[in-house]
Symmetry: C2
Subunit: 316 residues, 2 copies
């Protein structure tokens, strides 16, 4: 038997055929071109149909379709309540898909799906709780407790990126000031890098960024730091301090077995990112003499986490 | 049938006989005088024995003993791992009590027990999740999700007071800087009050505190604000902003049905504390257009929460 996992992104729709070992057998993607709810649901069905046909699988062999959405879903009603970058409001997407695919359709938030994917990957190690922290444009968090996605009573839980760590700090898109994602996202790192460059005209960061602030990305400071540049080392250290601040908050509050770091920034070498981050969290956490501590690790599945997690929604 | 709930405090041991409606039928307390683990366990047994004898109840009518401890407990082993203000380390207290009381003994953290007490009080309203925030010397948080205490995989979860909201801010006893409890506890409020008094020699807060900074307590600023003092109003507003910052973090992350405020500071009138706090959290929370929102309320049980919650540990 198989399941189909769909990862709805701001620019692409991706669907994967997933086997019972939670592996992607085959995947297809298409650009998301928004016209109407009907077109959107039709595209999802077409992707699923193309997948089974290409792989010579009958629809009977697909147990259900799972779908991760960048926004708020109503799990019970099978509706997308709202999305962040797509103009969807209260769309009964499960029912619309079921008009052509008569199987269960499960919905989840995309960060939650990615966390679920990472959780099952770690599940061989017999854990019950995991938080995935994804470092991208923002900071996404997906929380798995007792083997289940923590959704909150209204389906809106898990917004760890919008936990204030600098009261009165940088303005966030959510309306608050000083949210974790203003400091620990790739965007936050880029901001810290640019500030340091303007204060250090001779820093190697200028060379890495080809002399242009617009060229700065999440790798600029890490690259220059590796070359021995002091200002860049300071940027990296400051960034890791902010990252550790939020992670330690999550650990003190929830004590999950694993905190995973994913997203573009997490691709830096362990010596530059994971190891110093572990040291900072170890020094800060409240439960210093507990007999067991949260494992801080890198996420394993990369971009596949969304598809695999969506394909796991029905197993919860 | 009855249960016995014991609330171990830094200065007193309190025990209550609790009926099936979760009401305290009778309670006894004694000063905590630390000599040895044996004396400590003996005192607990003596309190329980005195309670049943005074109320003409046989031991057969007591289902179990529950016990809330200010520190870390090992629920499965029945041991107190460590406590904050009492020199207890790895004490097999359940087994020691069972030498004279041969019934189940359940252990819990004191903040968790208080949250459990408040949760059962609200349970008539059919909720599944609640966070109790206790504003005292520190900020204690007890988290109930899916009707159960959130303990974390190592028993150390729920340290919301040690969530940093001001990165690099006030030094905390836990080693971090800028923990929520440095700002939102009664101690934090007293600090803010004293700073404002030193900057405003003509403030009515001086009158309320009888001209002495040492006289300042958690009520000083609230009292002067009620009298119309501008500096005091600013202190109260700043304090409520910090309190709202942490509460909004908890809401964005966990979306519980209820957040309760307990502890000394929560005794202020709703107009001065609860209502403006609700407004601040409403303005800050991430899920502004969700169809249901976390209810922010005052705790109901006061000092009884610890005993009632401990007496409920066996029902989880």
């Amino acid at each position: 038997m198989y399941t189909i996992g769909i990862d709805v992104g701001g620019t692409n729709l991706k669907a994967g055929l997933v086997n019972e070992a939670f592996e992607i057998v085959d995947a297809k993607k298409m650009p998301l071109v928004w016209e109407s709810p009907e077109k959107f649901a039709g595209d999802l069905c077409a992707l699923a149909t193309a997948l089974v046909e290409k792989n010579g699988i009958s629809r009977d062999q697909v147990q259900y379709i799972g779908m991760g959405v960048p926004g708020v879903v109503d799990v019970n009603k099978g509706t997308i309540v709202k999305t962040v970058n797509i103009p969807i409001r209260n769309m009964p997407v499960a029912e619309m898909i079921q008009r052509s695919w008569d199987i269960p359709v499960y919905l989840g938030n995309d960060a939650d799906c990615a966390a679920l994917g990472e959780f099952y990957h770690f599940a061989n190690k017999d854990i019950e709780s995991l938080i995935l922290v994804t470092l991208g444009t923002g900071v996404g968090t997906g929380i798995i407790l007792n083997g289940k996605i923590l959704r909150g009573f209204n389906g809106c839980a898990g917004e760890g990126g919008h936990m204030v760590i600098v009261s009165g700090g940088e303005q966030c898109t959510c309306g608050r000031r000083g949210c974790w994602e203003r400091y620990a996202s790739a965007s936050g790192l880029i901001r810290l890098t640019r500030i340091a460059m303007e204060q250090n005209r001779s820093s190697a960061m200028w060379h890495v960024a080809e002399g242009r602030l617009e060229q700065v990305d999440g790798r600029t400071a890490f690259t220059a730091a590796r070359e021995g540049d002091d200002a860049a080392k300071e940027v990296v250290d400051q960034y890791l301090t902010y990252l550790a601040e939020g992670i330690t908050n999550l650990v003190n509050l929830l004590q999950p077995e694993v905190v995973c770091i994913g997203g573009g920034v997490s691709n830096e070498a362990d010596e530059a990112l994971l190891f110093p981050l572990q040291k900072k969290v170890e020094a800060l956490r409240y439960d210093k003499d507990a007999d067991r501590h949260t494992l801080l690790a890198k996420a394993h599945l990369g971009n596949d986490a969304g598809i695999i997690g969506a394909a796991l929604l029905g197993r919860e």
